[in-house]
């Protein structure tokens, strides 16, 4: 594994805190308008004529740069430069909305383009200035940046119009892309050249909330919805460059194994195969077409050195983890006297051991990246989620300085965390292959679905043990929570600042704080395994929310109280209570259901966003059928309500698929799943009816990419508990029999 060695400490702590959903630094009001100069910032691809549609609309030549975030073309097209990767979450739409609203632009003339790798200009304030996307930070980090950028551009348009028309700037109005004063008017395009020369306002005046025309409004459509319904949207998988070769790699059968030797005779006999090279990650077959590269890879014979490979099976790993539950872990949180409270007379004790599997991200677009190593420089094309890691990692792999690396970010076919990692695994692999081939041509690394499923970086396996108690009055008085699992941050550059006293925040985030428990103790035991692990949509909350929220229902039962009333009585945060009330109200909590149906609720704060979900289920021979989910969300100021709803709907489906079916398992170290038959994604027939209700809020905006996921699985489990009287302590649900009580 290639790891980034150096990153400024502030960057690392900010990044790690943001990715883990820990305390975020307040938004900076300071607005940095770095001069753009004449540098083009778009993709310049040497495309075949057939592929002309790969060049993004409003590319680098598109008119005048007003600042690093806004350009205006002569035809009036406004291009918003997007500093975060859009992998489906809608951030391009969100950031464009912020700038366009402050500009009073015509939304139908707004387009977007991804920013180059340039942390100084496009860094994420919540990542300590590192450039990257994750931790549901993009809107929170960029809300003021893009509003300022839009407001500055508007002020410059107004100044230019006033100068041209000889009127006072205060008499100039801007509305829907038209600048006017009295009887005079002009479009943005006509004014762009002059306006770009106007002085850049240091502190542009921002709109009052009441003046918003796009922010928070219904009917502001996604910027990518047309190109993604015509087949015109180009992803890395679709990239074609002159003389490009496609590389498909034989990866080791076990994590930690390395290639020893190979026989490429049969592979090289495949028509179209041009080269076979060994790299640290495996043996790569380079061919003129994807099909030839796959056939070549299939024909390859490789001997592997498995002396350092992980050879345990999942059952062995789980047994080791359960063994660790019997010994004390490292302290995470402690107040009161848990042991005394658990043994106090009259308390009702509830104990549970939870088990969570490895999970693959499995986005629809398998991992890929194109790289060209030529004349001492590296060019990369990929759905780049983490430029501040990918750029130095690529430089180190190619043996060049970071200033010799250029990254072109393309739209990504999903990520769920997989494209943001300290090791830049698939980017580094593409660079290593391009370098080993040595001909200076672009090489597009393509992982097949099987590569994507088997080549690592999973949500780690965890086991939890929880012992908790309610007193005779029904109040939860004690909670002892022990988490055992692998650290996501260990061995990465995050470890030095983010793992404190052995405790990885991403392992335990979400275990405590939501409810008022007078005697509490949380412990963590970090285990080592040779399995590469990574954040997976909502990180630690994927398992902590489950354990906490299933336990809360068990405690409510012990207290003989309604689960909603029980949560409302003990939740510490008014915003959490508000989403619980709203979800319960909209779901008709307490009203009769058709025979065979039950409800369950769960609520959780993650990434500073509050979500409660009520799941309505029925039980069939085939298992749990989720009929309906009602969600309530408080993410502060809402930039685009429909995008927020879409993210929560998607989070519900993503969480449900994993809860119902999914586990990556190892047989003597080898991953047993390969494709969507053995790692079953949620399908249409399993998608419940979903309603998402948003809390009107003036609080600072927070993210929504992840927070829809954590409450889903426990809400379903709590509905199963309501139906069967038995709590579900192991995920996935598949293979477990649930019988109505």
């Amino acid at each position: 594994m290639h790891m980034l060695q150096k990153l400024e400490p502030g960057v690392v702590s900010g990044l790690a805190a943001a990715l883990s959903g820990a305390a975020q630094t307040p938004l900076s009001r300071r607005f940095v308008l770095a001069a753009m100069g004449g540098a083009g910032i778009g993709l310049v691809l040497g495309l075949r004529p057939e592929m002309a549609h790969a060049a993004p609309a409003g590319a680098d030549t598109a008119g005048q740069a007003f600042n690093p975030f806004v350009r205006i073309a002569p035809d009036g097209t406004v291009t918003v430069i997007v500093k975060h990767l859009d992998k489906g979450q809608g951030i391009a739409t969100g950031l464009a909305t912020l700038a366009a609203d402050e500009m009073d632009a015509d939304w139908s003339k707004v387009t977007t383009q991804f920013a180059p790798a340039d942390a100084k200009t496009y860094g994420n304030a919540l990542f300590g200035g590192a450039q990257g996307t994750g931790g549901s930070t993009s809107i929170a980090a960029s809300y003021t940046v893009y509003r300022n950028a839009g407001a500055a551009a508007r002020a410059m348009l107004v100044a230019a119009a006033a100068r041209q028309w000889g009127v006072d700037p205060s008499t100039v109005k801007v509305s829907n892309g038209v600048v006017s004063a009295g009887s005079r008017s002009a479009g943005f395009g006509a004014l762009a050249e002059a306006a770009a020369k106007e002085q850049v306002p240091a502190e542009p005046k921002l709109k009052e909330v009441s003046a918003f025309t796009l922010i928070g409004k219904e009917g502001v459509h996604r910027v990518d919805n047309v190109a993604k319904t015509t087949g015109a949207r180009i992803y890395t998988q679709d990239l074609k460059l002159p003389d490009m070769l496609v590389a498909v790699v034989a990866h080791p059968p076990r994590f930690g194994a390395t290639p020893k030797s190979f026989d490429a005779t049969a592979a090289k006999a495949v028509k179209g195969v041009k080269d076979v090279v060994m790299v640290p990650q495996g043996v790569a077959v380079l061919a003129t077409t994807t099909h030839a590269a796959i056939k070549g890879r299939d024909a390859l014979k490789v001997d592997w050195d498995e002396s350092k490979a992980e050879t345990r099976s999942t059952a062995d790993i789980l047994a080791d983890y359960r063994g660790a539950l019997t010994k004390p872990g490292l302290p995470v949180e402690a107040h009161g006297d848990v042991e005394a409270a658990l043994k106090a007379p009259g308390v009702k004790l509830v104990e549970a051991e939870f088990e969570f599997p490895y999970l693959a991200h499995a986005p629809m677009e398998p991992m890929n990246a194109a790289a060209q190593v030529k004349d001492g420089a590296v060019t990369i094309w990929t759905g780049c989620q983490f430029p501040s890691a990918d750029l130095p990692n690529a430089a180190r792999t190619a043996g060049v300085t970071p200033d010799k690396v250029e990254i072109h970010t393309l739209w990504a076919g999903g990520s769920f965390g997989r494209r943001a990692l300290a090791s830049s695994d698939f980017v580094v692999e593409a660079v290593a292959i391009a370098k080993a081939h040595g001909k200076g041509v672009p090489v597009k690394l393509v992982w097949t679905r099987e590569d994507d499923m088997k080549s690592g970086y999973y949500r780690p396996v965890y086991v939890h043990k929880v012992r908790a108690a309610v007193d005779a009055s029904g109040k939860p008085v004690a909670w002892h929570h022990h988490v055992v699992g692998q650290s996501i941050l260990a061995g990465t550059f995050f470890e030095q600042v983010m793992v404190k006293n052995g405790v990885d925040e991403t392992s335990i985030e979400g275990t405590h704080g939501a409810y008022d428990i007078p005697n509490m103790k949380v412990e963590l035991t970090t285990m080592k395994a040779g399995v590469p692990v990574l954040w997976w949509r909502s990180v630690g909350h994927t398992h902590t929310a489950y354990a906490v929220e299933v336990m809360m229902d068990q405690l409510a039962r012990a207290a003989e109280q309604d689960p909603v009333a029980f949560r409302l009585a003990h939740a510490t945060d008014e915003r959490l209570k508000a989403v619980i009330r709203l979800a319960a109200d909209k779901a008709g909590w307490g009203t009769p259901l058709p025979a065979g149906r039950t409800r369950g609720i769960a609520a959780h704060k993650s990434f500073n966003t509050y979500v409660a979900e009520v799941a309505e289920i029925s039980l069939a021979d085939s298992g749990v059928k989720v009929e309906r989910v009602v969600a309530a969300v408080d993410c502060g100021v809402v930039v685009n309500p429909d995008v927020v709803r879409a993210q929560i709907e998607g989070g519900i489906g993503f969480g449900l698929g994993a809860a119902l079916h999914d586990a990556i398992t190892l047989d003597k170290g080898a991953v047993e799943q390969a494709n969507f038959d053995t790692y079953a994604p949620l399908r249409m027939s399993e998608m419940p009816k979903v309603e998402v209700h948003l809390v009107a809020s003036a609080a600072a905006p927070t993210g929504v990419g992840e927070p829809g996921v954590p409450p889903l699985a426990p809400a379903v489990a709590n509905a199963v508990l309501a139906a069967t009287g038995r709590p579900v302590h192991r995920l996935p649900f598949a293979g477990q029999a649930f019988k109505p009580a």
Partner: protein, 153 residues
Amino acid sequence: MAVTLTVNGQARTVDADPDTPLLWVLRDELDLVGTKFGCGQALCGACTVHLDGTPVRSCQTALGDVGDGKVVTIEGIQGREAEAVRAAWVSLDVVQCGYCQSGQIMSAVALLAENKKPTDPDIDAAMDGNVCRCATYHRIRAAIHDAARRLEA
């Protein structure tokens, strides 16, 4: 070897073995990259195209089996159903990452060509082979109903 096939109404000749999956012929030989590679095993539907009007998984359709069949891809799909489906998709902002949506749209158009007013179970049955990891299913279902209403009008 040279093989001629009809794609989006045009005769196209490619130099590829008959066992080459249609998916790679479309993407690598004909530059029709709107048809996506998702699983290679007919498990996800991202590569769905129409062969004589029927939705097929191009990753498991050999070039040699296409013969005189008419292949239509997302780039070439036309007609009332296609227009209604696209209009509904855009109106409801169905897409998220969008990578599966070519295949979703090809399946939805084929469904509406057969069944002008599909019920939820009809939609589930027709669309179950098309995976969306962003889980846009909820909106796909609504968009197919919306497209059906547009076709009635």
